[in-house]
């Protein structure tokens, strides 16, 4: 059977052509191709890992941002409350101080008014006594011009002294 007996020529050429093909592919094709397949597989694996990591990071970052926002909101509220408190305090203080200052002014004014009044009273008294003396002088001068009146006065004065004794 010709089919089952290998022909030498074909075996020879088969070896030769396989050797040539193997050499060409081994030298030029396979290292590049297998390296690329391996590298790409690795790249894809890394990419997937990276994406997962990135998503995790993103989730974490979002959570963190949320936290920071909450914190900020809390602080804002705190600050507002504090500001309110300080505001009332300042107003309170200012009011107190104003009241004190007003009281002081009032006291001083009172003091001055008192003094002024005393001075005025003194003045008035002096003036009034001067007037009175003046008037008395004038009156005495008028009444003592007539001798009858003068004797009458001496009599009355003597009477008075008698009565007392």
């Amino acid at each position: 059977m010709e089919l089952f007996t290998p022909d030498f020529g074909l075996i020879f050429w088969m070896f030769l052509s396989f050797a040539v093909l193997f050499f060409i592919l081994w030298k030029f094709a396979w290292p590049a191709i297998t390296k690329m397949i391996d590298q790409r597989a690795e790249l894809i694996d890394k990419g997937v890992e990276y994406a997962q990591q990135a998503r995790q990071d993103l989730d974490q970052a979002q959570a963190k941002a949320e936290e920071v926002m909450q914190e900020a909101r809390r602080q804002q509220a705190d600050i507002l409350r504090e500001a309110d408190r300080v505001k009332t305090q300042i107003i309170e203080e200012a009011r107190g101080e104003a009241r004190q200052a007003a009281a002081k002014e009032l006291d001083q004014a009172k003091l001055q008014i008192d003094q002024a009044r005393k001075e005025a009273e003194q003045n008035i008294r002096d003036e009034v006594s001067a007037f009175a003396l003046n008037i008395a002088q004038k009156v005495v001068r008028n009444q003592m011009s007539d001798t009858k009146a003068q004797t009458q006065l001496v009599d009355s004065l003597l009477d008075e002294i008698e009565k007392k004794n």
């Binding site: 022909d7 052509s17 590049a32 297998t34």
Partner: protein, 365 residues
């Protein structure tokens, strides 16, 4: 859509059925009168090797190929056209012709003293030429991929190159890497070359006309060489543990000491592996070719029984042979895949190290 395809198929097969009996009858006339078709002759002519490559639709012309022989007085190179149709060719006083019958039927012989002797023959026959074409095609398929990587780097190729890459990755990742693990890069070039070589040879064999049609992987010489290469790779790179398992396997002493039963079986196994590889690929591919040829021949055999029978046979046969050819496309891939896979397994079994004994035992079952 499916119905349309079916109608088209039927139409084509009817047309073919009309033309084939006519062709058959003209063929008969050429040879003068009622010549019986010898199916066995035709089948073996198509399955076997020959000098020159037949041209489609013209049985008597063929593309001449160089004949290279070492005759009784040295090297002779001449065109196969000179010895076509039983002609004798005289080259440097030596007479050559293609033997018409006898032990060397269909082969080139030298006439020495009226006797036919077989010279040392390394002619570029149809099969050898197909081999060279296969080498070129494989290079044309794979080298552009490398150029692409050099130009584009990590970018994944599209279309044709993408398909080639996907196929390569399928074999490399799915078969070679998963079996050989860290030793994959050492054996991948050989195994991938084997895969592409067989796959392209198989597919080229399915093409009916010129650049294809050679029954290469259905030729035992081709599969034998491939199996021998796997055998060599397996045993040359085999580990110490592999050889120990062959000559002194881990079995009860009585199985190996006075009478070395197990070593004999193991050594037998070393040689049956490549034999199985050879026969599996050879038989599968030759079977596929043979079925298609037989189905086609049925038309000519039935053509002698009248037009109606011939027509009916032609339709059925054509449809069957189209079906078989489609299956052969599948078989082409499967056989290339199986050959590569088995080669990988044989190589990996010879790469076992002692601590992997359990795994080796499992792989053998």
């Amino acid at each position: 859509m499916k119905r349309l395809t079916l109608i088209a198929l039927l139409l084509i097969s009817t047309l073919v059925s009309m033309s084939f009996p006519a062709a058959a009858s003209t063929k008969g006339e050429d040879h003068g009168g009622e010549e019986k078709i010898d199916p066995k002759e035709i089948i073996f002519e198509h399955l076997g090797d020959r000098y020159g490559w037949e041209v489609p639709f013209c049985h008597h012309k063929s593309i001449p190929l160089p004949i290279i022989v070492f005759g009784s007085d040295g090297l002779h190179i001449f065109s196969s056209a000179r010895v076509e149709h039983g002609k004798e060719y005289v080259d440097g006083g030596k007479i050559f012709r293609i033997a018409a019958e006898g032990d060397f039927k269909g082969k080139i012989v030298e006439i020495v003293d009226g006797e036919e002797t077989r010279p040392f023959d390394i002619s570029i026959t149809k099969n050898v030429f197909a081999l060279i074409l296969t080498v070129i095609v494989v290079c044309l398929v794979l080298l552009p991929l490398r150029c692409y990587y050099r130009r584009k780097g990590y970018k994944a190729p599209r279309r044709w190159l993408g398909a080639v890459e996907a196929l390569t990755a399928f074999i490399y990742d799915g078969v070679i890497k998963s079996t050989l693990k860290d030793k994959a890069s050492k054996f991948a070039p050989y195994l991938l070359t084997v895969f592409y070589f067989i796959f392209v040879m198989n597919l080229m064999g399915l093409m009916v006309v010129f650049p294809g049609g050679a029954n290469l992987t259905g030729n035992i010489a081709v599969t034998l060489v491939l199996a021998i290469l796997t055998f060599l790779v397996t045993n040359i790179f085999g580990t110490k543990h592999y050889w120990k398992e062959i000559f002194w396997p881990d079995v009860p002493l009585w199985l190996k000491f006075p009478l070395p039963i197990m070593p004999i079986i193991e050594i037998f196994g070393v040689f049956t592996k490549p034999a199985a590889l050879t026969v599996r690929l050879f038989a599968n591919m030759m079977g596929g070719h043979m079925i298609v040829i037989v189905l086609t021949l049925l038309i000519f055999i039935f053509a002698q029984m009248g037009m109606a029978v011939a027509g009916g046979t032609a339709v059925i046969s054509t449809m069957f042979s189209i079906f078989m050819l489609l299956i052969d496309v599948l078989v082409s891939f499967i056989q290339a895949y199986v050959f590569t896979m088995l080669s990988t397994i044989f190589i990996s079994l010879a790469q076992e190290n002692p601590h992997k004994e359990h795994g080796a035992a499992e792989a053998k079952h």
